[in-house]
């Protein structure tokens, strides 16, 4: 399948819709182990991104992703701002000026986004962060798309299921990074808000395929 600027526009709109719908939920998850602003901040960032897309009307996937990345960087704050900002900026940089990209390009863009998150947040799998969703999903995509040459549209259900499982797998973890780490053992038993918004990210990426 080919991914053009319309695909990424659909993706960002779906992601923004999920963030708006889950604003309270993400905030509650964050209040339990962090500072209770993740949903509020991500929703504000997504709305800023949509406003800027509306006025700037990007023509390529790379341009669209860069606008979203800058919007998140300058409006989300917290750790989520730089982290999600980096996701979109790295994807934009990977795609460059291409009008359309294929499945392999998209996976490479996501792989670079993951590298960006890990470099910035210095987190590894098992530390109760967004990396707990991102790394297994990206590894799965690399295997299925880069090696086995599947299209993402064929494995969507598996991607969403894997992201959901890994999100839930953060519940018994003790946080080692981010503000939740200050709670020590008291962080156990709560689902990580960053892993939850990451699940919504991949769910949106898949749902934007159909249209």
């Amino acid at each position: 399948m080919e991914y053009d600027v319309k695909y990424f526009d659909r993706f960002v709109k779906i992601f923004a819709k999920y963030l708006a719908e889950n604003k309270e939920y993400l905030t509650q998850l964050d209040a339990a182990i962090g500072d209770g602003d993740h949903g509020i901040n991500m929703d504000r960032g997504a709305r800023t991104a949509l406003e800027r897309l509306d006025t700037m009307d990007p023509k390529t996937p790379g341009e669209l992703l860069r606008i979203v990345g800058m919007a998140l960087l300058s409006s989300v704050g917290g750790a989520a701002g730089p982290l999600y900002g980096t996701v979109f900026m790295k994807m934009s940089m990977t795609i460059g000026n291409k009008e359309k990209i294929d499945d392999k390009d998209l996976v490479k863009a996501l792989e670079n986004a993951l590298i960006g998150i890990k470099t910035l947040g210095k987190a590894e799998v098992g530390e109760k962060t967004m990396v707990d969703v991102w790394e297994p999903v990206v590894e799965f995509l690399k295997g299925k798309v880069l090696n086995e040459e599947n299209e993402i549209s064929e494995i969507c259900r598996e991607i969403i299921k894997l992201a959901e499982e890994r999100m839930k797998a953060t519940i018994p973890m003790q946080a080692k990074k981010g503000r939740a780490s200050y709670l020590g053992e008291r962080s156990i038993g709560h689902q990580d808000p960053g892993a939850t918004s990451s699940y919504l990210f991949f769910k949106s990426l898949c749902e934007a395929l159909s249209e």
Partner: protein, 333 residues
């Protein structure tokens, strides 16, 4: 939620408008991106000192902008780190050609956003250094977490770093003395009540009438443990034990003290806390060189207190005593 606000989305903007209306001789405010800066900036030939963090901790940081302290402060949304464009624009507005020092409280988001701003500025040829303040002894196992939080020690770091910059010290020298403060300062906080972020509308945690939270930060996050309520003296003893076990103080050493309210604690109670703090230090022969009691780094309307102890030497004493003129801290002017 009952708060004296107009709408949760506008609290930061409207606070800034009110601040600049109150202190037009000391500060100016820039909007989008938001930052507070010295009315007389840029001060040529002086290292520019910039800090920032989530809002809701007032007077930190904006209240400490002025002569002898910060050149600019970047307020994020309530309890949310500021964004890189704020520090970037603030730095370009106030820098006086002698370099820029960021004072950053150790929170994952703050560190990331200041790092990104520093990278942007360095790419344009500016000299930028950062010191991270991580003074909260409540955070144990610091190897396995994001490290100690930056809390009350930040006030001393900004005061002393600001004095050094005002004296015309170089970027390296200012950084070194701020690092000395960071190394020699310890804090701990407790809460009697949680607080409510305006946009969230609900308290960040729940605490019953007969409980208090030991080892809180400044963002309404729960602390290390929850205990049955006790008299002030017993709570202060626990707090001071935690601090003194963590720092090498000897008889005859001199310290600066900050007995800080979290926003909703009456001064009466803070003085009761300070009474016990003073007794404990006097008993072990630690000299109290300077004491601040009041709301210096808060957590919205939270009831609670924090204690900060800074071990002093002659250099730190002199810089601490230097004149300062800001909305929230002023002496010898």
């Amino acid at each position: 939620m009952k708060k004296l606000i107009n709408s949760p989305e506008n609290v930061v903007k409207e606070m800034l408008e009110g601040m600049v209306a109150a202190y037009p001789d000391l500060i100016k405010v820039h909007f989008s991106p938001n930052f507070i800066y010295r009315a007389d900036s840029p001060v040529k030939g002086k290292v520019a000192l910039i800090s920032g963090g989530g809002s809701g901790h007032e007077p930190l940081h904006g209240g400490y902008v002025g002569k002898g302290m910060l050149d600019a402060a970047c307020p994020g949304e309530v309890f949310t780190s500021p964004t890189p464009d704020q520090m970037y624009e603030a730095a370009k507005t106030v820098e006086g050609e002698e370099g820029i020092l960021f004072i950053v409280k150790n929170y994952t988001g703050d560190v990331m956003n200041f790092d990104m701003a520093a990278d942007l500025l360095k790419a344009e040829g500016y000299k930028v250094e950062s010191v991270v303040i991580a003074d909260d002894v409540a955070v144990e196992e610091s190897l396995y977490s994001a490290g100690r939080r930056g809390v009350g020690g930040t006030v001393f770091a900004e005061k002393i770093g600001g004095a050094a910059a005002e004296r015309g010290w170089s970027l390296e020298e200012v950084k070194k003395v701020v690092e000395k403060v960071a190394k020699n300062v310890r804090s701990i906080g407790i809460a009697l009540t949680p607080c409510t972020v305006p946009a969230a509308g609900k308290p960040t945690f729940e605490l019953s009438e007969d409980e208090f939270e030991f080892g809180i930060g400044i963002h309404g996050e729960p602390g290390r443990k929850r205990l049955k309520m006790k008299p002030a003296d017993e709570i202060v003893q626990m707090m001071m034990d935690a601090i003194l076990q963590d720092m090498a103080l000897e008889k005859g050493d001199e310290v600066a003290l900050l007995v800080n309210g979290m926003g909703g604690t009456p001064l009466m109670e803070l003085f009761i806390v300070n009474r016990k703090v003073s007794q404990i230090l006097d008993e072990i022969g630690i000299k109290r060189y300077k004491t601040l009691v009041g709301n210096y780094i808060t957590s919205l309307e939270m009831q609670g207190a924090s204690i900060t102890v800074l071990k002093l030497d002659d250099e730190l004493k002199e810089l601490l005593d230097d004149p300062v003129l800001t909305p929230a801290l002023r002496w010898k002017i």
